[in-house]
Amino acid sequence: MRLREYPQITMAHGGGGQLGADLVTDLFLPAFGAAALDAELTDAAVLAVGDGGPYRTAFTTDAHVVKPLFFPGGNIGTLAVNGTVNDLAMVGAQPIALATAFVIEEGFELRLLDQIARSMGRAAKAANVRLVTGDTKVVEAGHGDGVYITTSGIGAVPVDLRVAPDRIQPGDCIIVSGPVGRHGIAVMSQREGLEFGTTITSDCAPLGAVTADLIAAGIEVHAMRDLTRGGLLAGLCELADAADVGLAIELGDVPVPDPVRAACSFLGLDPLSVANEGTFVVFVPASEADKVLAVMNSHPDTCKPAVIGTVVADHPASVVGRTSLGGRRVLVRPMGEQLPRIC
């Protein structure tokens, strides 16, 4: 048997890497057949629903599983709201409403559930989105990690706005909204009881306000992607593939907080592949870069932007980093979840 021909689902299929992408293209899409012919493999689908007037509808869903349920900077509830809000924001939508589904394990403490639900209420208020419907299921003890939350959301996209990977063009400037790697390391440190001098908090935050301002400022936004599972690397590789362009990244310009770098160096992880929950990349014509930075800088609570590279015509579908030493590093999408290295 070849390594990648797993007969069963492994944890690596859920790691935001190549294996997960294979699952969609090789299993789900063929199985769904004609029903999924126009499925968009982006953060959210944008649909014309009836006569939507000046808007089309963005629609997305996201299942949230996290261990531990509470971590520095958030919990599964804030994640469930912000994750879906951000998926809508990435296609240029103004988030409108979310549906929430809870799968709760028998024996889970109501006190904790209440805490999570209150966080969701606060997060929804902060993101200016309504929680309009939901569902609750309980599974037997031992068949869940406390609670899983799925949120589906709709948002409104102006009909004349199209933010999508195929709009990316050579010459575009690539801007990251803030330092990368905080969420993954915050969760991991909490789960494994690791300490790295200072507490690293998750970047979990809603991005609808900043993306709305980018669009309101009249900036020609080509594409956006929030850097969740698989981190910056997975996001960049997916976009390079989808747009069939080359991405040239100045690795020395990618902001990584010192404690994240220290933790990654200690654990043998690559900060560029660590998950974020409130950080995104945006692709715009180079002439718009300063405007993007100005808008992002007006949201200092969620953004601390940096220009990290440009889109090139060379090496289509590949992401190539220039290291701070001036060397070249081909950046590839991880296969599955990142694994700490032995040496």
């Binding site: 770098r261 220290a262 690559d270 290295r341």
Partner: protein
């Protein structure tokens, strides 16, 4: 931040590269022994910054690559047992065995857990007295002291549901084996700094004398690697073969004597098979008889292990610097990162995977 930035300074790196360029007059092949050094080279693009006349050869110091297939298959069999909690360092989970890997064993119901230290596995054993906790003790002289400490602690505290599947390998016999090969093309070695931090420098003096090859003890940050290369080239250009310590902030002549005493107490030398390379005499450690109760190999009788290595895979030759990855027939055809035949194609810093990405890029740029 201290120790993060100071050994990655781009200006100093440029100076070192200029010096290397100035002193290099001939073609040299330098092997970095350790996977950690390979990682630093790939992630910083150091190989492309060197003059064309210097080739870096990725060596065998990668536990993921050299842990023998028979041992991986044994681990898979033990991990699949109902009573076992199988603990491993993360990157062993994706190492292909004959028919499976630890990810697949976990998916099939095996209790496989990633830990960061053998002591975490020991703690799991104490918390789960009704289960058998097995730690996969792989790696070189670097991971061995903590493994020895875990076994010693289990022994002293009578934690009898803990055991270790030991597959330790040692650097000096591997270097000797590479140099003894008539086909060897390695001109100098960058020895693994952390191995020497534990074991000291003595064993390497003999290697230099026996084989007349320069060995530079080298660290893992970008500047460490460049300085190691610079010092190796200085020796090669001058026709010298000496042992040089370019990792003085961590390595002493004696090494970590306390760790060595513990290793000596818990382990004894054993002939060890290296994946793709074959058996090298006294090139590994196994648990001494006094610790037999903690030896997973003896505790679990998982017989009937028949290993099947893809015959097209020439990873062993690659790891000895005898073959460039892209000269292998399977390279890029039947063997790709998505469908690897051997371990060096598995991880992104594996020698074969690194070549694959570069080649793919060159081809795309041309088309």
């Amino acid at each position: 931040m201290k120790y993060l930035d100071e050994f990655a300074d781009p200006d100093i790196a440029k100076r070192l590269l200029t010096q290397i360029r100035e002193i290099t007059t001939q073609s040299w092949r330098v092997m970095e022994v350790c996977g950690g050094q390979t990682h630093a080279i790939i992630t910083n693009g150091i190989d492309e910054l060197l003059p064309d006349t210097i080739s870096l050869v990725h060596g065998p110091g990668c536990p993921v690559c050299v842990t023998p297939l028979e041992m991986i298959d044994r681990a898979l069999a033990i991990a699949a047992l109902d009573e076992v909690i199988f603990c491993s360092f993360g990157d062993m989970l994706r190492v292909p065995g004959s028919a499976s890997d630890l990810f697949a064993v976990r998916a099939g119901g095996g209790d496989v857990r990633i830990v960061y230290s053998p002591l975490d596995a020991l703690a799991l054993a104490e918390e789960n007295p009704d289960r058998d906790v097995v730690f996969f003790g792989v790696g070189f002289e670097t991971t061995a002291p903590a493994n020895a400490m875990a076994v010693q602690a289990a022994f002293e505290r009578g934690i009898d549901n803990f055991s270790m599947l030991v597959s330790h390998v040692l650097v000096p016999p591997a270097i000797a084996s590479i140099m003894a090969s008539e086909r060897s093309q390695v001109d100098a070695f960058l020895a693994a700094g952390h191995v020497c931090t534990v074991m000291g420098m003595r064993q390497y003096e003999r290697l230099v004398d026996d084989h007349g090859v320069p060995i530079v003890v080298t660290g893992f940050e970008p500047l460490d690697v460049l300085e190691g290369i610079r010092r190796a080239i200085i020796q090669l250009e001058a026709g010298r073969a000496e042992l040089d310590n370019a990792y003085e902030r961590a390595v002493t002549q004696e090494g970590n004597v306390l760790a060595q005493e513990l290793l000596e107490r818990v382990f004894e030398p054993v002939d060890r098979a290296w994946r793709g390379i074959g058996t090298i005499g006294e090139s590994g450690w196994k648990l001494r008889d006094a610790y037999a109760a903690f030896d997973a190999e003896r505790r679990f009788s998982v017989d009937h292990i028949t290993t099947v290595e893809p015959s097209a895979c020439r990873a062993g030759e690659v790891l000895q610097g005898l073959l460039k990855p892209n000269d292998c027939e399977a390279f890029g055809t039947t063997c790709t990162p998505r469908s690897p035949l051997g371990a060096p194609m598995v991880s992104s810093e594996g020698a074969c995977a690194a070549y694959y990405q570069r080649d793919a890029l060159t081809m795309r740029a041309r088309s």
